[in-house]
């Protein structure tokens, strides 16, 4: 039963990724694109965790942690750039 649940979850998360990608391409404003990218990172974490459960291996945890960290830093850096026109003052 869990296998079926995981497959349904794969479909849902992939659809979510597709919606994010659509918003990333469509825009219309820069903050919209940054938000889409941020959501894309978080959904990728979901996908990695699901894949980890699926193949019963913990090696993907580190990748998920790194994506979480770098995604946050990237979002903050881009917002800072929009706010100040500069990242490191």
């Amino acid at each position: 039963m869990m296998e079926i649940a995981i497959h349904i979850a794969f479909i849902l998360v992939s659809a979510a990724l597709a919606l994010n990608a659509w918003r990333l391409l469509k825009g219309p404003s820069t903050p919209d694109r940054i938000l889409a990218l941020d959501t894309l990172y978080i959904n990728t974490i979901a996908l990695l965790v699901l894949f980890g459960i699926h193949i019963n291996s913990m090696v993907y945890f580190e990748a998920a942690l790194l994506i979480a960290l770098m995604g946050f830093v990237g979002t903050i850096a881009m917002c800072k750039y929009l706010l100040r026109g500069d990242i490191i003052e």
């Binding site: 039963m1 869990m2 079926i4 649940a5 995981i6 349904i8 979850a9 794969f10 849902l12 998360v13 659809a15 979510a16 990724l17 919606l19 994010n20 659509w22 918003r23 404003s29 820069t30 903050p31 919209d32 940054i34 938000l35 889409a36 941020d38 959501t39 978080i42 959904n43 974490i45 979901a46 965790v49 699901l50 980890g52 459960i53 019963n56 913990m58 945890f61 998920a64 942690l65 979480a68 960290l69 946050f72 979002t75 903050i76 917002c79 800072k80 929009l82 706010l83 100040r84 003052e89």
Partner: protein, 122 residues
């Protein structure tokens, strides 16, 4: 694996994936940037949190001891999601991104975007 555990895990996985999907649906479907911001910050964060807890329970019951390091990512996401949302809203106001409702008093936005050496909410 017994059946009760399997049902619990399936429910957690489906709930998590559903919330993740709904958060992204909000991102694609709502009509202005500021309302779009609500979907990902709330829905997606809880959805991924559910999935991570499911993963934690799953690996803890596989027989090689406890696995609670997924909690780390969950906490991290719950702490960082509001900060990203706050900064995104701030930069959108700074750029005067269109909204369905009139943007708030410009004076607040302009004063606040001036450079300050130390500001706690930045």
């Amino acid at each position: 694996m017994n059946i009760a555990l399997e049902i619990l895990l399936s429910v957690l996985i489906i709930t998590g994936a559903l919330f993740t999907f709904i958060g992204s649906l909000g991102l694609a479907r709502l009509r202005d940037f500021y309302t779009r911001l609500h979907g990902p910050t709330k829905g997606t964060t809880l959805g991924v949190g559910c999935l991570l807890i499911a993963s934690s329970i799953f690996f803890s019951t596989q027989g090689d001891g406890f696995s609670i390091h997924e909690i780390l990512i969950t906490f991290f996401l719950f702490i960082t999601a509001p900060i990203s949302a706050h900064l995104l809203a701030k930069s959108a106001l700074h750029l005067k991104v269109d909204s369905l409702v009139p943007l708030p008093d410009e004076a607040i936005a302009r004063k606040n975007s001036q450079h300050k050496p130390y500001q706690s909410l930045d």
